[in-house]
Amino acid sequence: MSGRALSLALVACLGFGAGCATSPGPFTPPPESQSGSTALAPTPEPDQRASYPKQPMLPGPQPVQVSDPFQGFNRAIFYFNNDLFDGYLLGPVAHAWMFISPETVRRHIEQAFDNLNSPGYVIEPLLQGDPKQSGVALSRFLINSTVGVAGIFDPAHHFLGLARRPEDFGQTLGVWGLGPGPYLVIPIILPRTCLRDALAYPVDWVLNVGDGGIWTIWAPWFAGIAVSSARYTNRRALIDADLNTGRAAAVDFYVASRDAYLQGRARDIRNGAEAEETPNDELYEIDDGNHPAP
């Protein structure tokens, strides 16, 4: 996810903001700019914002409280996951898979696996008090499993506008008010997570059948490994370009991944709902260096 998020930022800027030409000078805002510290002095006009008709916007980035007390351990595992496991095993296998499979095939395979997560996508919204979304997920499952040939295709979205919305128990715990807790990096299985999502994993293992593995209880052990490896490889292939871009863009890929993960999870828990107040303006205030004494 982090690779995708970062690359999307870069993709977005690519077309509309890649540049390194001249500027007025370092940290010198243009004349009459709002960028200066004076212009940025908080002058909120809540009435004005409230009067503007709400449009279907994404929620703004929210301040993310990062708790990373195990950073030394996390960085070591991150190095193993990113540099060793992905660098020497998963990445090369995924590249081989990319060489022999068109992207369309990879996307349809992923859709079929994702369709198996439907029990979680149906039940979790109910636990979150959102029966409407639960109905949407159930409809998607019924339509895509039949008309969509076991989920390989997505007619529910294409013809009925029923958009996919992934759900898991970590999100439900978040909706119930449980914070993310310390950031954790776990070898291979959960490359990036937080304590809350790690605790939720057993429930997801049961409900999100495509991501989890409850079915492996009844299957031969090698079948479980084979199917999980296939999906892992296919997913890795799908995010290859994003991952490369994310790695190239980050000056500290561990921090970039952590931040994107936590921001992304906060977004997932909000389920696209806009906050009444958008508490993100602080991020866009230029620090003038005047800090009150502690």
């Binding site: 940025l40 500290d252 620090d287």
Partner: protein
């Protein structure tokens, strides 16, 4: 009689207050609408210019990248972005270090965007389909990219824009609610805290050098 006059006066006062409130709301609405529309017009030009470059198949990759960069120079407020990314750490940089950081930061973004650019085919449909006025008078616009090399669900990206004089410039890019400024700020904070300011600039410099090498023709 006196009671009737009093009731009428009260009614008139209430009506006047309601009229004033309605006028204020209408004025606010018009102002917010105008600012969002102005920012959107700027971004629409950028989208049009960019699509024209992407669809020009006669351009060599290097030329195409250079053209996109030249479009972007007018649309992004790199000095403001650099200040936002540095946050409270800016005070610990000397003016020379600030200059170095800005130069490296701009080059870093440019090189990475150039790399990302090669993934676009020009077949994408790009639509500006939302906008809101923020509390500090910034404007956030939503862009949706579908088709072409975009994933099946499409890509939704917010652009946070700020007025510089009469010009709206981008100060943050927020794909799927993940802020580029916030991400870079966290990285900068980590490096400055762990290794110091000099290391931050050196890290950016090294990153740029390796990226430039990787992207060099041949």
């Amino acid at each position: 009689m006196s009671s009737t006059r009093s009731t009428t006066a009260t009614t008139l006062r209430r009506s006047l207050r309601l009229a004033c409130a309605a006028a204020f709301l209408l004025a606010s609405y018009a102002r917010a609408d105008g600012e969002v529309a102005a920012a959107k017009a700027t971004m629409q030009h950028t989208v049009d210019d960019t699509l024209a470059v992407l669809n020009d198949k006669s351009l060599a990759p290097d030329t195409r990248r250079a053209k996109l960069e030249s479009i972007a120079v007018d649309r992004f407020d790199f000095p403001t972005m650099a200040q936002l990314v540095l946050g409270k750490n800016r005070a610990s940089l000397t003016p020379e270090q600030q200059q170095q950081f800005l130069a490296e930061f701009k080059q870093h973004l440019s090189l990475t965007y150039g790399r990302t650019f090669d993934r676009y085919t020009g077949a994408e449909k790009i639509v500006l389909d939302g906008g809101r006025l923020e509390g500090n008078k910034d404007v956030t616009l939503r862009m949706t990219i579908t088709g072409g090399s975009a994933p099946p669900d499409g890509v939704r990206i917010d652009y946070r824009m700020r007025a510089n004089a009469d010009k709206w410039l981008v100060i943050d890019v927020i794909p799927e609610s993940v802020s580029l400024v916030q991400s870079f700020r966290s990285q900068v904070q980590e490096i400055v805290t762990q290794k110091g300011v000099a290391n931050l600039i050196q890290t950016l410099h090294d990153k740029n050098a390796s990226q430039a090498q990787a992207q060099a023709p041949g």
